[in-house]
């Protein structure tokens, strides 16, 4: 399972990298979103999957799944959500003011 997951994560990272290297603002933002999916899955996978029960003391018996990476991911999800939301609004504002969603034409005045 872990090996399969890591291969999947590798594909996600490749796709994200390709999107980040593109010229379009929205593609880049999409790429960062996919990259954060990949990273969340990676944290969980590296800790080992399906090694125990749900980490709820009253609900399940020992052994429990490692809870620490879950806490880390929870924090990461919220932060990446905040950043994605901000960057999306930023893209929206950029388009409003410069009528472009293309990084090629969003360079400084020197290149115009």
């Amino acid at each position: 399972m872990e090996t399969m997951m890591i291969l999947l994560i590798g594909v996600l990272v490749s796709v994200a990298t390709y999107l980040i290297l593109s010229k379009n603002v929205i593609r880049v933002i999409l790429g960062t979103a996919i990259l954060s999916h990949a990273v969340h899955l990676l944290i969980l996978t590296i800790a080992g999957v399906k090694k125990g029960n749900v980490p709820l003391l009253k609900e399940a018996e020992s052994p429990y799944t490692d809870a620490l990476p879950q806490a880390l991911i929870l924090t990461a999800i919220v932060i990446s959500f905040a950043v994605t939301a901000f960057v999306l609004v930023l893209a929206f504002r950029i388009y409003q003011t410069s009528k472009s969603d293309d990084f090629e034409s969003l360079r400084g005045q020197k290149y115009e």
Binding site: G48, P55, A67, L74, I77, F81, A82, A85, R93
Partner: protein
């Protein structure tokens, strides 16, 4: 302690002048500045008998004792010479500048810079600690920079100041490196402690690099070939500055350093060859180029370069004595150093007088171009007297002090020719030949000063104002210097006994009894080779001067764009345009390119290290099993991820991203993470909504027009990044060297009173993270609000600029 006062005094006065200049309008502020060099001169003059009796004067003021950097002053014979020159010529120059500069100039700046320079220069010659010496050394560069660009509204002044700054500071920094190397070898910054360790360090591998780096600093400061090019351009400074800094004091700092460090490096063959050869080349090249100058100040600048080369080559020849054991007949080699010190003083006197003379001519006639001058002798007889005395002394004619030092110089080159050491004997004959040729050129340009500027047809009609003799106060300082020039000729041995002998002792600390080191100077020493050489100089020089028009053409043989100046300009502008080109080639302003660099760096650094260290390992034995529905999930994720790259519509892309997000949610469920699944579900829904909301305002997603090569390179980069992540993760997966710490959190109910382990970690064990994460969310919310709100109020484009 007194010496510390002497160093601090100019800085103190510079501070006072800059404060009170507004209240000091009645009297010329230069009178206040004049007190400083006079006081310093008196302080030093009173110490002459103590120094002459062989007792150096030293005092330490603790500065940074933990780093062995202390403000240690050391006054011996060598520093005494320089101290007296700096304060003595300094007094005369300040006196001269009081009448030279009009009160409309920003005088407080002038005297502030000049006093800063004076203090820094005194600091250089009195410091025993190399780091402190370096600090003062750079301060002389900075104050010289300020003085050259004193008329900063003129482009040439700024260019000259920049050039001198670049060259001297480059040398200064390399000197600093050399000092640090010396410290590494000897564990001391004190010059005198280093001299005592000389036997232990001469075999050290850093010894030669340190020597070369320090020499680079000395040569740039003393305008030695090929670093002399800044000195003619520094002539844009006011004339008192040229007289003081660029003939008498600052340019001799390099010579001071070479003489001061001779006891350390002097025994080396390389030291002898570098110092002597560079000195001789500078001597020849400076005198050769001085002849073709048409500006009197430029002529004097090249003559300064040439005379500095003479002194430098003498110091180099004197260093031979370190390699020889002391015997009665080796003393003749130390006489080169004696000649160097003697000429150092002589040069300061006559060159200072000549610069002041040029300043007077410039002041009274309004030009200093030789082609526009002539026939000034009858109009300005006193100035003419100064010019004749200075020029003849520079040419080495009796009865002036230049004659004595020139004879000593010829004697030194004739002695060194026969020395059988350092393989000198093979090229020894070149020493007197070069010296003699340079002397001929020196004679010619001295004649140019006298005859072209002061004799010949008067060319007054080309001059705007009626010309008359300079006011008397302006002539006081040059006349004092001329009196020195003559009296040094008649009483050289007084100077030798009180000033030069202690200096010789400090250059040759453990070589010989002092009285043997100091020869008697005779004004007339009989018919010998030296006097014959001088007579030949006069004869050939006169003939060549008469035929000047016939052979001036040789200066046109080498094209001007081959000169060192052109080389300097090309290097500066070339490096500017090169760095501009390099920067423009990679700073394209395109995000894609920057991301490309970052990813490439990641691939090369991490990837190469990963495979180089052999960290790759791969094992599937601990893997959990995969159910059939998990296969399906993985397949769906792969399909969605890859098809995002190819979809034509942005809506499809966002929905596919949603598919990925919900797929992740399913994985969280499968991997026993209920809290994550819940959060991911909500966050993914909101993100998708946000994406769609954004699309409402954005244009339709046009297909990207990327070139094939860009697509290929992007693909290569992204596939390599993905592959690298895979191999590193696989290598990390089976890392189990340490126990996990999660067992501790499983006691959550007892420790924190909660049954949900993840939540207790978030809210209790690691609550600090959560708090800051809330702050992140808060800031993002504020940011979004601000972005939207600005538009609502002011309407877009106002905020762009």
């Amino acid at each position: 302690m007194t010496i510390h006062v002497a160093i601090i005094l100019p800085f103190l006065m510079a501070f006072i002048i800059s404060i009170i200049n507004k209240k000091f309008t009645k009297i010329h502020i230069g009178w206040l500045a004049l007190t400083v060099p006079i006081i310093v001169f008196i302080i030093l003059a009173r110490l002459i008998p103590i120094i002459a009796s062989g007792n150096p004067y030293t005092h330490t003021y603790q500065w940074i004792p933990s780093l062995d950097i202390n403000f240690t002053t050391y006054l011996d014979g060598l520093s005494m010479i320089f101290g007296l020159l700096i304060s003595g010529i300094g007094s005369l120059v300040v006196l001269y500048s009081i009448f030279y500069l009009s009160s409309k100039e920003s005088l407080q700046h002038f005297y502030c810079y000049l006093l800063l320079f004076m203090g820094a220069m005194l600091g250089v010659v009195f410091s025993d600690n190399l780091m402190v010496l370096y600090a003062f050394w750079e301060l002389t560069s900075v104050s010289s920079f300020l003085l050259i660009s004193f008329w900063h509204h003129r482009k040439a002044s700024r260019a000259g100041a920049q050039k001198s700054m670049l060259i001297t500071v480059t040398g200064g920094v390399s000197m600093l490196v050399g000092f640090i190397m010396l410290h590494m070898m000897t564990d001391s910054y004190s010059v005198h402690e280093i001299i005592h360790q000389i036997e232990h360090i001469s075999e050290h591998e850093l010894f030669i690099p340190a020597m070369i780096l320090i020499l680079l600093g000395a040569f740039t400061k003393s305008a030695q070939f090929p670093f002399h090019i800044w000195l003619p351009d520094a002539m844009e400074a006011p004339t008192p500055v040229s007289a003081y800094l660029h003939s008498a004091t600052m340019v001799k700092a390099g010579i001071y350093l070479v003489a001061r460090l001779s006891p350390i490096f002097g025994g080396e063959m390389l030291w002898f060859w570098i110092v002597t050869t560079v000195g001789l080349i500078t001597l020849f090249w400076g005198s050769f180029n001085a002849v073709k100058q048409t500006d009197l100040k430029a002529l004097l600048a090249f003559s300064t370069v040439s005379q500095l080369g003479l002194i430098m080559s003498l110091v180099g020849m004197g260093s031979v004595a370190y390699a020889l054991d002391f015997e009665a007949d080796t003393v003749i080699y130390t006489q080169a150093t004696f000649a160097a010190l003697f000429h150092l003083i002589n040069h300061s006197t006559f060159k200072g007088a000549l610069f002041m003379m040029v300043g007077i001519v410039d002041h009274e006639v309004g030009t200093r171009d030789i082609r526009r001058l002539g026939g000034l002798m009858s109009i300005m007889p006193l100035t003419f007297t100064v010019a004749v005395i200075g020029s003849l002394s520079m040419a080495g004619m009796p009865p002036f002090n230049g004659f004595l030092s020139k004879e000593l110089f010829f004697a030194a080159v004739l002695h060194i020719k026969d020395l059988n050491l350092f393989s000198i004997s093979s090229v020894g004959i070149l020493f007197p030949v070069i010296a003699w040729i340079a002397s001929v050129f020196t004679f010619i340009y001295c004649m140019i000063i006298i005859f072209k500027a002061f004799l010949g047809r008067p060319l007054i009609q080309k001059v705007e104002r009626p010309v008359h003799e300079a006011p008397f106060p302006l002539l006081v300082a040059p006349f004092i210097l001329c009196i020195m020039v003559i009296s040094l000729f008649f009483f050289p041995n007084t100077l030798g006994k009180y000033i030069l002998k202690p200096a010789m002792v400090s250059i040759y600390p453990n070589l010989a009894p002092a009285q043997k080191l100091t020869p008697e100077i005779h004004a007339w020493h009989g018919i010998n080779t030296e006097i014959l050489m001088t007579i030949a100089v006069i004869l050939i020089g006169t003939i060549l001067y008469r035929l000047l028009g016939k052979w001036m053409g040789i200066y046109r043989f080498y094209p001007p764009n081959w000169s060192l100046n052109a080389l300097y300009v090309n290097v500066i502008s070339g490096s500017e345009s090169l760095s501009n080109k390099v920067t423009n080639s990679y700073m394209t302003g395109l995000l894609r390119h920057y991301a490309f660099y970052i990813y490439s760096f990641f691939i090369f650094s991490v990837g190469v290290f990963f495979f180089y260290s052999g960290a790759f390992s791969f094992s599937t034995e601990n893997n959990a099993s995969i159910e059939w529905y998990e296969w399906i999930l993985i397949g769906v994720m792969l399909l969605a991820a890859i098809s995002i790259l190819f979809v034509k519509s942005r809506i499809t892309a966002v929905i596919l991203n949603g598919v990925l997000g919900f797929g992740v949610t399913f994985f969280f469920v499968l991997f026993r993470a209920p809290d994550l699944a819940l959060t991911q579900l909500v966050v993914e829904s909101v993100t998708t909504v946000l994406f769609l909301l954004c699309f409402y305002y954005l244009p339709e997603w046009s297909t990207e027009k990327l070139s094939i090569s860009t697509k290929i390179s992007n693909s290569i980069i992204s596939i390599t990044v993905g592959a690298l992540v895979v191999v590193i993760s696989l290598a990390v997966l089976n890392f189990d060297k340490f126990e996990r710490i999660s067992k501790y959190f499983e006691d959550a109910y007892n420790l924190a009173g909660g049954a949900n382990i993840v939540n207790t970690i978030l809210g209790d064990f690691r609550g600090f993270d959560t708090m800051l994460e809330v702050v992140v969310l808060f800031i993002a919310g504020l940011g979004v609000y601000t972005l939207i709100k600005f538009k609502a109020k002011k309407g877009g484009t106002d905020f762009e600029d």
